[in-house]
């Protein structure tokens, strides 16, 4: 099986460094550069996408369990990104409801669990942040 991340990386760099400069002056030059930039980013994200989703799912399931919530969202039967994403999204809806409930409560246990939810959200946001490759003028 080919290395998809590597292929996206090479395609992106080709678009940015070879194709886009040849289109300079044409509107499509910006499209080529931006597409190449994101292809490189997609190549990097490809490698970690399943890992990131599995961790997000485990984190939310743990928080809902701490709150004593019945876990009604079935576990994915595969590690296809589409299935993991659907599971994560269903759990995230429950997390939003839980956090909203906790904010309405003044007791320390609720505040403690809410702080844990924020720790999860901060870690998730950090993991989702792509690192843009450094191409001269690529994101113009």
């Amino acid at each position: 099986m080919s290395d998809i991340g590597m292929i996206l990386d090479r395609l992106g760099r080709k678009l940015v460094t070879e194709v886009a400069p040849k289109l300079e002056g044409d509107y499509s030059a910006g499209h080529a550069a931006m597409s190449g930039l994101m292809a490189v980013m997609a190549g990097e994200a490809w490698d970690s996408a399943a890992d990131r989703l599995v961790n997000e799912i485990a984190g939310i399931r743990g928080l809902l369990a701490l709150a004593g919530k019945t876990l009604s969202v079935p576990e994915s039967t595969s590690v296809k990104l589409s299935e993991l994403t659907a599971e994560r999204n269903a759990l995230a809806e429950q997390l939003i409801s839980l956090q909203s409930e906790l904010e309405a409560s003044d007791d320390d246990a609720a505040k403690d669990l809410n702080a844990k939810i924020w720790m999860h959200l901060m870690a998730t946001a950090m993991n989702r942040m792509p690192s843009p490759p450094d191409f001269p003028d690529a994101e113009d």
């Binding site: 995230a92 702080a115 959200l121 946001a125 989702r128 942040m129």
Partner: protein, 348 residues
């Protein structure tokens, strides 16, 4: 519509509106990259009138099938008219507004072209050197000047609602919360938590009602490379509201390479705020700024999820929308989480 056809139809439209014009043609037309909220063209219009041959530089802003921002071009046109010729603001002249789709297949408006200057890339703000201080002073003076423009009797006031001073925040938050909830392709726990936080902790009432540019930031002005801001562009999110909205948006960390030492990546904070106060007549209030600064991240998420939806649905295949839905969304989600988490007991 191909550019040749667009040029031909535009020449006919312009000739009918320029007094005494004849033999009108488009001598040059170039689409300008980056204007995903409108299709933006730079046009050299050649024509003759009683005084002889003329060439006029114009900017055509035509509605695309979908855009980054769902706005009425009528409001953008009115905002530009409200600022043109006021308080030394470098704003293009608003010329024609066409809401009918007959002429060019979509609504559009036309501005005079400001001939000198290029935009600065907000992701490469160091390119402003060696004119960082000069541009910074103009940036905050013009921002304050926009806040001080008269609202009553302005073209914008005729086209948009003027909220009560204590309702500016509520109106904007409700609008962008609805954008997020209507357009997000996946659940948004950080945005939802931020919306709830902002609702529970409202800002002080606006010190005054102002014309709010709505997207005043590096990337949306031109500078001549010699230390002068030559144009303030992209008024499509203009409305009437609290001037802190513009101050907070202009200094959002995304637009300044994450430079926390300088406001907007341009000037030391005390100097920037001083210039803005002098030009706007407002007093800086840290509590108001904190609220509007958090709100800026939420507003940004509203724009980014709308972009992602349009791209995913195939309504607009401009790659800038995919970039917005991915990179800039992730950046603003991270900023919000890192600012709100500690307020709820989570360690930074």
């Amino acid at each position: 519509m191909h550019e040749a056809e667009l040029a031909e139809k535009f020449a006919a439209y312009a000739e009918a509106r320029l007094p005494g014009a004849r033999n009108t043609r488009v001598a040059a037309i170039n689409r300008i990259h980056g204007g995903a909220s409108r299709q933006t063209y730079s046009i050299d219009l050649a024509y003759e009138d009683a005084t002889g041959p003329k060439t006029k530089g114009l900017i055509l802003r035509r509605d695309p099938p979908d855009s980054l921002i769902d706005t009425e071009r009528r409001v953008e046109f009115a905002a530009i008219k409200s600022a043109y010729g006021q308080r030394d603001l470098p704003v293009p002249e608003a010329l024609f507004l066409e809401t009918d789709t007959t002429a060019l297949g979509a609504p559009f408006f036309v501005m005079g072209r400001i001939e000198k200057g290029d935009p600065l890339n907000p992701f490469k703000i160091d390119d402003v050197e060696p004119h960082r201080a000069a541009i910074g002073k103009q940036f905050f003076r013009h921002l304050g000047s926009i806040a001080a423009l008269p609202v009553e009797g302005s073209a914008l006031a005729a086209e948009s609602e003027s909220p009560a001073l204590d309702q500016c925040w509520r109106k904007e938050l409700a609008y962008w919360a609805n954008e997020i909830r209507s357009n997000a392709q996946s659940p948004q726990p950080v945005a939802e938590a931020a919306i709830r936080y902002l609702e529970r902790n409202p800002p002080p009432p606006a010190q005054r009602l102002s014309i709010v540019h709505g997207d005043y930031r590096t990337g949306n002005y031109l500078q001549d490379g010699e230390g002068t801001m030559t144009a303030i562009l992209d008024w499509e999110m203009a409305h009437i509201g609290d001037p802190y909205e513009d101050l907070a948006w202009a200094t959002d960390l995304l637009w300044c390479g994450n430079d926390q030492e300088r406001a907007a990546g341009l000037l030391p904070w005390p100097e920037a705020i001083g210039i803005w106060q002098d030009a706007s007549g407002c007093q800086f209030d840290p509590a108001a700024f904190e609220w509007w600064s958090l709100f800026s991240h939420v507003k940004a998420l509203g724009i980014w999820v709308t972009s992602e939806k349009a791209f995913a649905a195939g309504e607009n295949d401009d790659p800038i929308l995919a970039w917005s839905g991915w990179f800039t969304h992730a950046a603003h989600e991270l900023m919000l989480a890192m600012r709100l988490g500690p307020k709820h007991g989570a360690g930074a």
